[in-house]
Amino acid sequence: MKTNQYPSFFPAFNQFGNMLDEIFQAVDTAGGQLFNTGLPPANIHETETNFQLELAAPGLNKSDFNIEIENNYLTISCEKKKESEQADKKYSRKEFSYEQFKRSYKLPESVDQENITGNYENGILKLTMVKKTPSSAPNKKIVVE
């Protein structure tokens, strides 16, 4: 399996409003040397209460995905076993193949790791990561007298 390890940074506004912060950090591995089909592309969307990660990996089954969290890293991997019939087929052009890949993201601290859900529909894997509810009391207002 070919490994392409490179970090990429996703800038986002942190809780202080306008200071840039790196919240997701990615480490990726792609399979398939013959054609440069790359990794399944991902979009990340943030709402007030959660992060949503959408991975466009068409042609797979729900059971092909292996999603794990270890040391604050969320890893989505897939290694589809090739059917013997498929091995004989010859591609004259191949622009996508997501049967073997691995993508990891460093989770932001604000994500509640016990509260991540996913579903796979029409070739898109959607993960919803709920943010932790702030445990501290609301900001204390200091009155200048």
Binding site: I44, F51, A56, Y91, R93, F96, N122
Partner: protein, 129 residues
């Protein structure tokens, strides 16, 4: 050698160039896998996130055209974006004669599978009198 080519008026867009856009229609370009067997071509187009109703397949004059038109107009602001969902298309011209009437398409898990049978070559036997 490629038995077919993707139609594009731009000289720079040869079969080896992986352009994101279809220059003819200025829409996003669909990704395609092509397999060829002795009697047919099997095509796979990546259409993640779409339903059957949002995809159209058209075949005329040896040219297969697949167009997608997502219904949802929901515009999200992305923290990070690697793919885009908008109207997309791809046209494939077959250089070898195919059975246009027998083209079939199937939709599953964000992949459109299209089978294009080749026209059977009829060999004419010449009898020696």
């Amino acid at each position: 050698m490629y038995p077919m080519h993707t139609r594009c008026s731009h000289r720079s867009c040869g079969p080896h160039q992986g352009k994101r856009f279809d220059h003819q229609s200025q829409s996003l370009r669909l990704k395609i896998n092509i397999q060829e067997t002795e009697d047919k071509y099997e095509l796979e187009m990546a259409v993640p996130g779409l339903t059957k109703e949002e995809v159209s397949v058209d075949f005329a004059n040896q040219i297969l055209t697949v167009k997608t038109k997502p219904n949802s107009t929901e515009s999200k602001t992305w923290l990070h974006q690697e793919f885009r969902q908008g109207p997309a298309s791809r046209s494939i011209q077959f250089l070898e004669e195919v059975e246009e009437g027998a083209v079939s398409a199937k939709f599953a898990d964000g992949v459109l599978h299209i089978v294009v049978p080749k026209k059977q070559k009829q060999s004419k036997k010449i009898e020696i009198l």
